[in-house]
């Protein structure tokens, strides 16, 4: 019994370190902006404060969902996928009014996909959405019998499922990976590692861009993205990936390369969602309603980094 408990503590030590780091960053940002606000309040600061507040909420929810029972984590990620899918499906330009009875199948696929992740049934987990649902959704559209603009729905619905369900479910699957001898933090460590690096990479790119940003990358889609911000973000994230590698079974060189990959794919995810939002007209007007930002804004980079990180780690250490 005594043995078991000390084992458990050992197992959680790495996770506790990272949670302390997250807490430290949030406290630091909150105090910094508070003092800054006392000295010289600006409009930009107000936005930074609002962002920090929502980071507090998201970080608490995420950390709780990660350290509680695995079932809680699976349900939490499933609900996140559901809310993100619903958000995309609610935008009229994406789907036709007649597709409502087909969209229900997209929702039904969520608990199924997360059940496969929970059970750790890898082979069906990786084909369920990219293969089975890619056939099933167009078939259901055909059965409805309305062919006007059916091609668009056939393309849009499965893509949305990939972006919101397939990709995010890889975060949950990390918790189902088998234990590796000599690697203590387990799936939780990997999960915290990829989510933390992805989100901090967004912050790094934002901060470096603000400090040094001159040369725009793709002005038409994301006017705030600069080469300076991007390169600064990639380097900082890679460095952090190296120092946090105690959460993973990765070697030193692997950790640095994964840091690079997360930073680059996070950037790609960000601009993909920006482009989608620009197409549906949300970008020009902020959000659908002032002060009610979407879930998609928060998970845009994660939906690309999660599967890429998963398959690299899986093939290096679990296959």
């Amino acid at each position: 019994m005594h043995f078991l408990q000390s084992d458990k503590f050992e197992q959680n030590k790495e996770v506790i370190i990272l949670i302390s780091i997250i807490l430290g960053i949030l406290v630091f940002a909150t105090v910094l902006f508070f003092i800054w606000g006392r000295i010289k309040p600006t409009n930009q600061l107000k936005e930074l404060k609002m962002r920090t507040n929502s980071w507090w909420v998201m970080a608490s929810i995420f950390v709780l969902a990660t350290i509680l029972h695995p079932v809680v984590s699976f349900v939490a990620f499933g609900l996140l996928s559901f809310a993100a899918m619903r958000e995309l499906a609610s935008i009229s330009k994406n789907v036709r009014d007649d597709d409502r009875r087909v969209i229900i199948w997209c929702y039904i696929a969520i608990p199924v996909q997360y059940f496969f992740a929970y059970k750790g049934w890898f082979n069906i987990f990786i084909i369920f959405i990219p293969v089975i649902m890619h056939v099933w959704i167009p078939f259901m559209l055909v059965i409805r019998g309305i062919t006007t603009e059916i091609g668009r729905s056939m393309g849009v619905l499965p893509t949305q499922m990939m972006l919101t369900i397939f990709s995010l479910s890889h975060l949950a699957y990390l918790l189902s990976l088998p234990e590796i001898p000599g690697f203590n933090a387990g799936g939780r460590g990997l999960l915290l590692y990829v989510v933390f690096l992805t989100e901090i990479n967004d912050v790094f790119q934002f901060v470096w861009g603000k400090l040094l940003g001159r040369h725009k990358i793709i002005e038409k889609i994301s006017p705030n993205k600069t080469w300076e911000g991007f390169i600064g973000g990639v380097l900082s994230t890679a460095a952090l990936a190296y120092f946090l590698r105690f959460l993973t079974p990765l070697t030193e060189i692997e950790a640095v390369l994964i840091g690079f990959t997360i930073a680059c794919s996070g950037f790609v995810g960000d601009v993909i969602v920006s482009a989608i939002k620009r197409d549906i007209g949300l970008k020009d007007t902020g959000t659908l309603i002032p002060g009610h930002g979407g879930i998609l804004d928060r998970i845009d980079s994660l939906s690309l980094t999660a599967p890429i990180f998963f398959y690299i780690v899986y093939n290096l250490h679990y296959a």
């Binding site: 559901f82 009229s92 330009k93 009014d97 409502r100 659908l288």
Partner: protein
């Protein structure tokens, strides 16, 4: 006992279901908690409308707030009428005049005199998904008779997509319930009052930037 049942149903079960599963987002909901007696006036696209509005009320308000429902639809059989009354506190009215039953306006007016609150859909029926119809003049008559009672304009969008008229399958979509400022009417004529209320709801509607369905009129 009954108010405890309603409170449990709406504050916990229904609110959770609407927020987490259906995706209902309440905007500016705080305005309602301060009011004692009111008439909620809203556009009407779905059976969910009443549930969404009831779920926004506090414990205290729930037991004395009555949605106005069509007796010829919800009261046409004993079971339907029983279920409607049990779950919603509804006052059932006849939409067509047949002379046999009490005048609907009198029923609503009496409830207001007793200090109760109402939920009213002046469009009369749910109509086409996400389209607004012209307001009936009942709300005008009521506010003219009770000029001291505040009305609260509410605009709901998306309900007609989640559960449109004639559909049995509920499909979750992001849905918004937007509350306007409670106010007493300034107009004196019935037509002017109806116009004023309708205008307030149209104002709320204009704050939404993008149309939610492709068929929604501009």
């Amino acid at each position: 006992m009954r108010s405890a049942f309603l409170a449990f149903l709406y504050s916990i079960l229904m609110r959770g279901f609407l927020r987490i599963i259906v995706g209902v987002k309440y905007i500016n909901k705080e305005v309602i908690s301060k009011e004692d007696q009111f008439i909620i006036v809203s556009n009407h696209n779905s059976h969910l409308d009443t549930m969404a509005l009831m779920s926004s009320l506090s414990f205290r308000q729930l037991s004395k707030t009555h949605p106005i429902a069509a007796g010829d639809y919800f009261g046409d059989s004993v079971t339907k009428s029983f279920i409607t009354r049990l779950f919603t506190n509804a006052i059932l009215i006849r939409r067509t005049k047949d002379g046999s039953s009490e005048n609907p306006i009198d029923m609503m007016s009496r409830a207001l005199s007793e200090g109760r609150s109402l939920i009213l859909f002046p469009e009369g029926s749910r109509g086409e998904p996400e389209k607004m119809q012209e307001f009936k003049k009942g709300i005008g008559i009521l506010l003219q008779k009770h000029p001291n009672i505040k009305y609260i304009p509410v605009y709901m969008r998306g309900m007609g997509k989640v559960l449109p008229k004639g559909e049995k399958l509920l499909v979750p979509f992001d849905t918004y319930v937007m509350f306007g400022e409670p106010s007493t009417t300034k107009a004196a004529e019935i037509e002017e009052i109806v116009k004023e209320v309708e205008g307030k709801i149209m104002e709320l509607r204009a704050t939404f930037i993008k149309p939610i369905t492709n068929s929604e009129e501009e």
